[in-house]
């Protein structure tokens, strides 16, 4: 076995090692904690890139933990789809972490920062695990680690809103877990396997024997992943949780955590369930409708918000709706659009939350109405906000347009122009609540009323990086789209 073969597991383990090293290092060698975390995230990113290359050369790879082959052992799988998700995951978590280095001191007590690093590493590691795993039970464990750490990076701030929000999140997420586990039990009873590939093979026969059990399992999976990914109407926990958390956590949660569950749903629906299973039952249709309702209602709720971060959080509900629509169309183009939106929205929303974090850091302002005229004091931040808004609306030149383009093409290919209209209306709604913020920030007739602290260069640099990525994703989308085309072509 060459060292390269261990990369799939190393990408997860490196985070867990780092996570448990952090509290020890933070006690004895505080200055090296942050550089080490950066190094770990960068190393993971490098590994993902190497794996991308080897997947291109050698095709999908499997890794058996402890050398035990499936169906007994835990299996990790690397293919283009997962590598795409991993790349998004590592790039964005590295980026958010660099931002967090400066912002955390503002939001947290000094002694908690070490623990924050631990939680961050665990969160990224578990998300990598969710993306990589090829085994339902391992998925369950990783999802739980992810859920607990996601709650913990909210509640670490220890003010009332955060605690309440994370409790709500935890309870609903536990409900999702319960449903998921019940679904897993159904599948296990019907087939005796937990490995994706074995399940896929044996479900074709099992569907004839236990049709109801398996449909129930599929429905439970929708509820489970829907709760965790804030699919409308299971989104109730999201606004509080994402709005009250420290800004880096919000960026992480809205940017990546909800996406990874949508991704898991995608994997389960496309990789595990055989196509015959979903025939005659409108499960895809349900996902599609819930996604489009989410896209509409998320935007409508967001319009009503007065708090900036709450508005961004509601907007996430709308945007995750697009991703679910991409999954629900069951068409190649739409799936590419949905997956592309995973990356685009991750960058965009993370950047918007960072911009909100910078605004809160520099001025303490959280209310949208107090932000009039802020653009003259924080031009770069608001420029980033403007670019982010443009991408949310889907203006040309930003990544948001590309994902909407593919989603709409998919919808038209399926002969459903109605959903294109939904996408457009929700884009319009996005414009209605994002544009006034940008406009008032720059063109408000009068002075900004609050004192403005200077913003650290690192924070501004991260924002600039975000802007660049958004524009690149809108202009040079070819490589990513080609990768996604290769990745999803096996489903159709």
């Amino acid at each position: 076995m060459g060292p390269l073969e261990h990369l799939p597991v190393l990408m997860v383990v490196i985070f867990f090692c780092g996570a448990f090293l952090m509290p020890l290092l933070f006690r004895w060698a505080r200055p090296i904690c942050a550089p080490l975390m950066v190094a770990i995230l960068a190393a993971a990113l490098v590994m993902a890139i190497i794996i991308l290359q080897s997947v291109y050369q050698l095709g999908p790879q499997l890794y058996h933990l402890g050398g035990w082959p499936p169906p007994w052992g835990i299996e990790l799988k690397v293919d283009l789809l997962r590598v795409y998700m991993l790349l998004v995951l590592f790039v964005i978590s590295l980026w958010i972490f660099i931002y967090a280095l400066r912002d955390l001191g503002n939001e947290l007590k000094e002694e908690l920062i070490g623990w924050y690093y631990t939680l961050y590493a665990l969160l990224v590691g578990s998300m990598a695990g969710i993306a990589l795993t090829n085994d339902l039970f391992n998925l369950f464990v990783m999802m739980e680690i992810c859920a607990i750490t996601a709650c913990a990076i909210i509640s670490i701030k220890e003010d009332r809103e955060c605690l309440e929000a994370s409790f709500k999140y935890l309870i609903l997420s536990a409900m999702g877990t319960g449903c998921f586990l019940l679904g897993v039990a159904m599948l296990y009873m019907a087939t005796g396997y937990l490995n994706y590939d074995y399940l896929h093979g044996s479900l074709v026969e099992a569907i004839a024997l236990y049709p109801r059990n398996l449909l129930l399992a599929a429905a439970l999976f929708i509820v489970a992943f829907g709760t965790k990914a804030a699919l409308f109407p299971l989104h109730v926990w999201l606004p509080d949780a994402h709005a009250s958390a420290p800004s880096p956590s919000s960026a992480m949660l809205s940017g990546l955590v909800i996406k990874i569950y949508a991704f898991a749903l995608l994997i389960v629906f496309y990789e595990v369930f055989p196509a015959e299973m979903l025939q005659g039952v409108p499960l895809n249709e349900i996902i599609l409708w819930l996604g489009s309702l989410g896209a509409m209602f998320g935007s409508i709720y967001a319009m009503l918000q007065t708090d900036l971060k709450k508005m961004l959080a509601f907007s996430s509900i709308g945007q995750i709706g697009y991703i679910f629509m991409g999954i629900g169309f069951n068409h190649e183009m739409a799936l590419i659009g949905g997956l592309y939106h995973v990356g685009v929205h991750a960058v965009t929303k993370a950047m918007l939350f960072m911009a909100a974090g910078v605004i809160i850091y520099a001025t303490g302002v959280r209310k949208i109405s107090d932000m009039d005229g802020i653009g003259r004091n924080l031009p770069l931040t608001m420029a980033a906000f403007a670019v982010g808004s443009a991408s949310m609306i889907g203006l040309p030149g930003t990544g948001g347009l590309i994902s909407k383009w593919y989603l709409s093409l998919g919808a038209l290919e399926m002969g459903r122009p109605f959903f294109v209209i939904i996408i457009l209306i929700s884009s319009l709604l996005n414009a209605v609540y994002y544009m006034p913020i940008v406009i008032n920030a720059f063109l408000y007739h009068g002075e900004f009323q609050f004192r403005v602290k200077p913003v650290p260069r690192v924070m501004l640099a991260t924002l600039i990086f975000g802007m660049i990525v958004i524009i690149i994703s809108g202009v040079f989308s070819r490589p990513a789209v080609v990768l996604l085309e290769d990745a999803v072509s096996r489903f159709f």
Binding site: I393, L428, L443
Partner: protein, 503 residues
């Protein structure tokens, strides 16, 4: 002229203003003079470069060049043909004059270091629209221009301007999304959105109709077509006058241009006629013409009256497009030119009056022609042309349009044109006649002399007058001689489009 020269020129025309935008922005930190001269030079150069393409346009050169592929089969490309040339030439010409006009007009205004870069960037994106080689690039530049125009609209930053601007923005975004939807459908049905392949959609279908309606919404919104005109009468008057002139005179035409491209490149004349879609356009155009004229009558603010007039004038262009024969298209294209000249004169003249006196109400303008004879003279030329007094260019376009309507066997449209001309006369003459023949001030006609002392007003600065005069001369020249350059260009364009418009 070789194709590569043309491509280089076009790229320069689009890129030069866009590159100069930040330069002008930073120049304004050092000196206002530098900023102003850079702005004038940039717009002048753009105009010169555009005019340099004239021989190629007359020879009928068509160039289509892909620059960059964004997605498979979806690219950014540029295209040159005579229609592009016509619109690019007229808009860069007006832009150049408006920039000169702005130098004096804006000297009193605030935030000039924002105004000039935005003006130049809007020029760049406008030229981008005309030279775009496919609907996606067109859409990109269209959205860019629409969003930039927002900053021009709200330049004054008054409460009223912000409200109008918000309305404009919402409508723009609705239009943009509709356009996007249309482009997606075309891409889905035809597999391409390039302008270089002739009619992309060959047969009518439900989706094709939706696409047509979407384009109608997207471009019609910009062109102020009924019922999507609601933003226009608010947004145009609140902008600074040179910007209003550009908004009404040039930027409205991007909508008309887009519709022309849609009709001839996405669909085809046969498809439009067989689907009966020309009727949709025709009905909307008639309503637009009559409604615009009728509402203009009721306006008391001069710039609002001009804005409503723009709506009805754009209706003529839409009408020409709905008739779809040689004369009608010639008329429509020619009217794009004439309306650009006329409406810019009217707005610039109104701007000069407002700048000098602060008068915005039409009722207060009695006798102003005696104080500002040159300004009001130009205004009158343009207004008379608008009404369609025979030798002027407004008459020529209406004449050609009527010929087209008669050719197509639709005399009803001629009636509409006549009624609208009458309405035009009703709302323009009450401005001109009192301006020259009344004494300033008020109702007491006999004792005007003491009022005249109160209203002792001189003409605006030469920098503002010269663009007006140049435009007025153009209006006269292109109207008085039936075989002028512009008319020939319109004829050629119409012939080119009706031949299929492709390579």
């Amino acid at each position: 002229m070789t194709d590569s020269t043309i491509i280089v020129l076009i790229t320069l025309i689009i890129v030069l203003p866009i590159i100069m935008t930040p330069v002008i922005f930073f120049a304004s930190r050092y000196s206002e003079r530098l900023r102003n001269s850079l702005a004038v030079i940039t717009s002048g150069l753009t105009f010169a470069l555009t005019i340099a393409l004239y021989p190629a346009a007359v020879q009928g050169n068509v160039v289509q060049q892909t620059l960059f592929e964004i997605l498979p089969r979806l690219e950014l490309s540029i295209r040159f043909d005579i229609l592009s040339f016509c619109l690019a030439a007229i808009s860069s010409f007006i832009w150049f004059l408006c920039t000169i006009y702005s130098l004096d007009y804006m000297a009193k205004e605030h935030a000039c270091s924002r105004y000039y870069p935005v003006l130049i960037l809007a020029l760049g994106s406008c030229q981008g629209i005309y030279f775009a080689g496919d609907f996606f690039s067109l859409f990109v530049f269209f959205e860019l221009m629409s969003l930039i125009a927002y900053i021009l609209v709200i330049h004054e930053e008054t409460e009223e301007a912000m409200r109008a601007g918000y309305k404009y923005l919402v409508m723009t975004i609705i239009g943009g999304l509709a356009l996007f939807f249309g482009i997606i459908i075309v891409f889905e049905l035809g597999g391409t959105v390039s302008l270089g392949v002739g009619s992309i959609i060959q047969e009518t279908s439900f989706l094709a109709l939706i696409a047509f309606i979407c384009f109608l919404i997207g471009f019609g919104m910009k062109a102020g077509m009924f019922p999507l005109h609601v933003w226009l009468p608010d947004a145009h008057p609140v902008a600074p006058s040179p910007a209003s002139a550009l908004l009404s005179g040039v930027m409205l035409k991007t909508g008309a241009y887009g519709l022309l491209r849609v009709i001839f490149h996405v669909f085809s004349v046969d498809l439009m006629l067989s689907g009966g879609w020309d009727t949709i356009l025709g009905v909307l155009a008639v309503i637009t013409i009559l409604l615009g004229s009728a509402v203009a009558l009721t306006q008391t603010d001069i710039k609002r009256r001009l804005a409503y007039s723009s709506i009805s004038q754009l209706g003529y262009i839409l009408l020409g497009m709905s008739i779809l024969n040689d004369n009608a298209i010639t008329g429509a294209v020619f009217h794009i030119f004439s309306h650009a000249f006329m409406k810019s004169i009217l707005f610039l003249a109104a701007g000069a009056i407002i700048w000098k006196t602060g008068i915005r109400k039409i009722a207060d303008m009695r006798g102003i022609g005696r104080q500002m004879p040159v300004t009001m003279g130009c205004f009158s030329v343009a207004a008379l042309a608008m009404i369609g007094i025979p030798p002027l260019n407004g008459f020529l376009s209406k004449w050609t349009l009527s010929l087209g309507a008669l050719d197509a066997g639709m005399p009803f449209y001629v009636l509409v044109l006549l009624i609208s001309s009458l309405l035009n006369a009703l709302y323009y003459l009450p401005i001109i006649i009192p301006a020259f023949f009344d004494v300033p001030g008020g109702e007491d006609h006999g004792t005007g002399d003491q009022h005249e002392i109160k209203f002792n007003i001189k003409e605006a600065t030469p920098g503002m007058l010269s663009p007006l005069v140049i435009l007025a001369i153009c209006t006269l020249v292109f109207g008085l001689t039936p075989n002028n350059i512009v008319f020939i260009l319109s004829r050629l364009t119409s012939a080119f489009l009706l031949l299929g418009g492709a390579l």
